[in-house]
Point group: D2
Chain length 344, copies 4
C-alpha cells in the first residue's frame, strides 16, 4: 500500500527491456548513441514538432533548472506558483543554475491566475535597473496539488507571458498524466498553447530516471548542451538514458502508464468519496489531497500503508480530521487500493 | 574494436542483475532505500573506514565537482594537474559547483610533482586578500595519461597539501584500475595516504552510471546532501543507483573488472610493443598512449576500429608517426584485441 | 524642492573637510590607512562594542549583500519583508553575493510581524534536503515605507530568529534616522536587540558614498574581507572612505544630520496634514507617503518640485487623490519646504 | 619616499575642485547627473568614438570583472597573461562576475605572445562540449611588469583573438601611462587596434576612486548597467564619480599626470642605472623592477622609504642582490626621488 509518491515504484517492463538490450557492446558516449536518434524522432512525432531539439537528463530538477537557465539572465526573476516544485522542493537548484536569478512567487495555493501573474510581472518594473527584470514564466502541469490546467487556462497564462515578451517553461514531471487527463495532444498542451520549452517527465511514470527537455526553439540547443555538461548532467553511457526514453515513447507507453495511474487514482478517490472523505483539491490526475479522521490514518499506518500526512501529526484526537496526500503510480494494483480502502 | 574509452561499453551482468532485482515494488526514495545501507556497509568495508560517509551520484563530473565544493570556498584556488579531468574535460563544472573558485594548474604533462605543487601553493600567498586563497588539492588516480601514482608519490603530494593545511581529493574515476595496478588496499590508496575524500568510480568499470563519493571526515555529510540536491543530482528512484553500486561491490567485483581491464591493456600494449610502436607514457593501467605509422591508423580506421588520435589527423603522410589513445574496458575480448593487432 | 530621495544631496561640510585633509601625501592602501583606525574606534564607541569588526564599502547594496553573504549558505533562504530593499531594489545582488541563495518574502506591506516571520521560517522545513534551508533574517530600519521598528518590535523579530538559531542582519541605510526617531542608543538598536551585523549607512545622511558593515561577532572579519575584495569593493585609496566615515562619526555628526532630516520631514508632514493630505504610513523618520489631489501634484510639478508619485500617473482627473513619496535629507531648507507647501 | 604603488597618493587638485563643485544641491542619482553627460562626451572625444557607451565604477577590479562578464559565458575561458591582475590580484572577482567562468593563463612572465595565445585558444577545443569554450581575451596595458605593448604587439594579439571570433578587453588601469609612453591616441590603443572594451583607469593617475568602462559596441550598454547594479557598484550619489572623471578628462589632465608619472619613473630609473642597478624588465612607463644590493635596501628602509621587495626578504647577506618594485605616481616630487637615490 505505497501511496507516498509516484517516484518510488518499478520501471515498466517495456522500459527495462530496452535498457537490457542496450547493455550489449560499445556505443558512442555522450548522447551520440543511435538510440538517441530514435528518441529524438519519437519526441518530435509525439509533439508534432519536427524542429524540436531534445535532450535527456536523469532528474526532474535538472530538467527544470537547466531549461529555465537557458531562458533566464542572472538579473531576472522567474515567475512561478507559490507552491511550485521549483520553489519548494529543489533546494535552490533553479537559482543555482540560473546564475543567482530570483524566483518570484505568484500568490496562490495551487494554480496561478492570469491576473496574479500579470500583477507579479508588472510589479517587477522592466527597465528599472534596480529591480530584478522580468524573466521566464514556469507553469507546472499536473500541479503540485494534483490539478490540471485546462488548455484555456494554460493559454490564458502564456498569453500574459507573451504580452510581456517572456518565455514559458512547462514543468511536466507529470506531463503524461495531464495529457491523459485532458485527452489532448502533447502539441496542444505545449507549443500550440504558447509553451517554449517542456520538461517531459519519465521517472514518475514508468522509467528509472530520465526526463526529456524539449525545446521548440532549436536555437537553444548548443547552450543547453554546454549547461548540461557544466552541471555534470551529461552521461557518458548515455545509451541507458536513451534506452529508457525509447521504451517510454514506444507505442506511446507514456500515455498508457499515465492513464493507468490516473485510473488508479480515480478508483481510489471514488472509494474515499464513498467513505465520506473530503478533498482539498478536486483530484484530476494521479494525486489526491484528502481529509479523513485520524483514527483511520492510524489504522492505515498500523497496517503498513505508506503516504504523507498533509496538515497534522499522526498522534492526536482520533476523531479529528487530518489531510493526506495520496499518489498513485501506474504500478499500483487494484488489490492494493482495495486493501487501503478496506480500512475506512 | 572499440578502444575509444571505457565509458561506452556494457555494464557487468552482476550489476544488471541487481538493477533488475530492484525493479520490483516500491522503495523509499532519495537514498533511503535499504540497498543504500548495503552500499554504505560495503564501501566502509572496502575502505576499512567504519565512519566514512558515502553518497552516490550518476556522473564522475558530479562526484568531483560536489566533493571539491565541500572543501572549497569561492575565494580559493583548487590545485590540480594541468591535464586533469577537472581542468580539461568538465566544462567549468568544478568552478560552477565551487561558487566561482579558481582552478590553478600545476604545470606538468601528467602527474604533479611535490615541488611543483608546493610552488603553486606558495605562489597563492595565503593571507593576502588580493590573491585567491589556497584551497583543496585534487589528484587523479589513474591519471588522464594512464599513469598510476605509487603510494609514495601519493603521500609525497598529500604531505605538501597537509603542510599547508589543505584538504585532498582523489579523482578516482578509475580508482579500481589503480588499486589493481598497485596491488594495494583501497585504504592504502586513500585515507592511509592522506586523502580526505574520494570519487570512487563505477561507470567506467562495469556499471551503467554510478559513482560513490566517500568522505573520511563525516562532518561533511549534510553539506554534501544539500549540495547534491541543489545540483539536481539527488535521484528520486535512488534504488537504481544503489543497486548498481551494490552489485559492483559484491564479492569485490570492482577489483575483478579492473584487473580484467588492466590485463586487456597489458596484452594490447605487449602486442603494440612487439610491433614496434612507441609509448608516450608507460602504460600502467587500462589506458595506452602510443605512436605508430599513419598508414596503420588508416588501416585500422578502414577496418572499423574506434579510438582517438592524439596528435595529428588521419589524413597525411602514411609513414609519419601519429599518436593515439587506446583504452580497454573489462568487456573487451582477446579476439577484439587480436583483430586490432592484426593490422600491424 | 528636491524630495525624491535622500541619496542625491550634498555631503556635509565636516565630511568634505576630512576628505580634503586626506588628499595629502601617500597613505597605505586597502584599509590600512591610519584614519581607518579612527573609524574603527569611533564605531566601537558609538555601538558600545569594543570587539566589533568594522569595514567600509561604498554602496548600501554592497553592505547588505556582503553582510548577508557572510551569514548565508547557497542552499539557504534569507527572510525579509516583501517590500525590503534587498528584495525590490537590488537587482538580485543579495542572491548574487550569497551564491544563489533564495530570498523569501514575509508577506507584509511594511514591517514583518513576528508571527508571519515564524510562519515563513517553519514553512522552509529545516532538515528536509529538498527545501531551501532557513538562513538569516534581515530587518530594515527605517523601513522602506518610512516606519521605525520600536525596540520591542525589533526584539520580537530577533527572538523568532534566535528561536530558530538564525542570524539577524539590520539594513540600516537610514540607521541614524531610526536611532534619532527612537531616541535610543546604537547599541540598543543593534546587538542589545539581538542583531548580529549592521549595515550602518552614511551615504543618505551626509556622506558622498560610504557605509560601514559592523560585525558584533568578530569571527566573520576575514571572510568579509575576502568577499569584499572578490566583489571588487575593496578601495585601493581607501583613505577617502575612511575620511568620510571619520567625519561622519566625529562629534556624532550622524545623529545631528539624522535629527535634522527627521525634523525637516516632521515639519513637512505637519504642513501636509494641515493642508488636509492623508498618509499611507504614519511618518516616523524622514520619509513621507502621502496622498493629495492630482491638481496639486501638477502645480508642484510645474513649479519644479522633484519627487516620486506612488500610485498613479501625473496625468488624469485633477480632483483624484494620488499618492507620493517625499523624502527629506538633512540639507533641505525650511524655505524649500515652505515653498513646497505653498502650493497646497 | 613612497614608491609602493600609484594607488595611495593624492587626487589631483583639478579633480578635487570638480568634486567640491558637485557638492552643492541635489542632482539626479544613479548616473543621471548632468556631469555624466560631460563625461560621456569627453570619453567619446578622447577615444574618437561617438557611439561608445561609457560607465563609471569605483575600482579597477570592478571595471575589469564587469567588462569581461559582458563578453563571457559561464562555460567559457578568459585568456590572460599568467601574471595579469585579473589572475593574480583580484581574489576570483573575474570568475565571480563571469558566473564561474575559467581564467586560462597564457604562459609568460609578462606580455602574452601571439603564438602562446593562439596555442592556448586552440587547446580549448571550441565545439567540444567537455571543454571550457574559448571566451574573451584580456590584455593589460601597461602590464603588471611595467611593460608597454607597442601598437604592433597589441594588434598581433587582437588579430589572434579575432581569428577565433573572440572579443578583446583591455585592462587599462594605467591606460594613460601607456598612451603617454607610446605617444599615440587613445583610439590607436583601443578600437583601432581591435579592442572591444576598455577599463580606463582614473584612480592610479590622479583621481580618488573612479574607472570608466568604455564599450565601442553600444549593444552591451543595458547588460552592463544591470550587471553593475547587481554587483552593487551603482552609486546613488553618482555625481561624485562623474565629477572625478570630468576633472580627469578636462584639458586632458589624464595625459598630463601620466606623463608626469612616467617622467618621474624615467628620472628614477636613470638614477638607478647610473648607480649600477640592473632591471628585470626595461621600464617603459611608471613602474620599475630593479635589482640592487640588500645593504642599500636596508638603508632605504631605515630612512623610511616605502616600496615592495620582489624576490627576497630584507634580512640577509648585505651584498646579495634583491629586486624591488618601484612605482611613481604623478605626485612624487623630484626631491623625493633625489632623496631616494641619495642612498645609493
Amino acid at each position: 500500500m505505497f501511496f507516498a509518491s509516484d517516484n518510488a515504484g518499478p520501471a515498466h517492463p517495456q522500459v527495462m527491456e530496452r535498457v537490457m538490450a542496450a547493455n550489449v557492446g560499445h556505443q558512442p558516449p555522450y548522447g551520440n548513441d543511435p538510440m538517441m536518434e530514435e528518441v529524438r524522432t519519437g519526441i518530435r512525432r509525439v509533439f508534432e514538432a519536427p524542429d524540436a531539439e531534445v535532450f535527456l537528463v536523469s532528474t526532474g530538477t535538472a530538467a527544470n533548472a537547466l531549461a529555465l537557465a537557458c531562458y533566464c539572465q542572472p538579473w531576472q526573476a522567474i515567475f512561478c506558483s507559490a507552491v511550485a516544485h521549483v520553489e519548494e522542493d529543489e533546494c535552490n537548484a533553479p537559482e543555482f543554475y540560473a546564475g543567482a536569478a530570483k524566483l518570484t512567487c505568484v500568490p496562490t495555493d495551487d494554480k496561478m491566475t492570469p491576473d496574479a501573474l500579470k500583477a507579479a510581472i508588472t510589479a517587477r518594473a522592466p527597465g528599472d535597473v534596480h529591480a530584478a527584470q522580468p524573466g521566464p514564466v514556469t507553469i507546472t502541469q499536473v500541479t503540485e496539488r494534483g490539478s490540471v490546467h485546462s488548455l484555456d487556462e494554460l493559454r490564458a497564462l502564456t498569453a500574459v507571458a507573451k504580452a510581456h515578451d517572456l518565455p514559458v517553461h512547462l514543468d511536466g514531471a507529470r506531463f503524461a498524466n495531464a495529457q491523459a487527463a485532458l485527452g489532448c495532444t502533447a502539441a496542444d498542451m505545449s507549443w500550440k498553447s504558447g509553451v517554449d520549452v517542456v520538461s517531459f517527465g519519465g521517472t514518475k511514470n514508468g522509467c528509472m530516471a530520465v526526463e526529456a527537455v524539449v525545446f521548440f526553439d532549436p536555437s537553444k540547443a548548443w547552450e543547453f548542451q554546454l549547461r548540461r555538461k557544466r552541471g555534470a548532467h551529461l552521461f557518458s553511457k548515455h545509451k541507458y538514458l536513451s534506452a529508457q526514453m525509447a521504451g517510454y515513447l514506444q507505442d506511446d507507453l507514456f500515455l498508457k502508464t499515465a492513464e493507468q495511474a490516473n485510473d488508479n487514482a480515480a478508483y481510489l478517490a471514488q472509494g474515499l468519496r464513498a467513505a465520506g472523505a473530503t478533498f482539498l483539491h478536486e483530484p484530476q490526475a494521479n494525486m489526491i489531497f484528502v481529509r479523513f479522521a485520524r483514527a483511520i490514518h492510524q489504522k492505515l499506518h498500523d497496517a503498513g500503508a505508506v503516504y504523507n500526512l498533509w496538515d497534522g501529526p499522526l498522534a492526536g484526537a482520533p476523531e479529528e480530521m487530518v489531510a493526506a496526500r495520496l499518489v498513485c503510480d501506474w504500478s499500483i494494483s487494484r488489490e492494493q487500493i482495495d486493501a487501503f480502502l478496506a480500512h475506512f
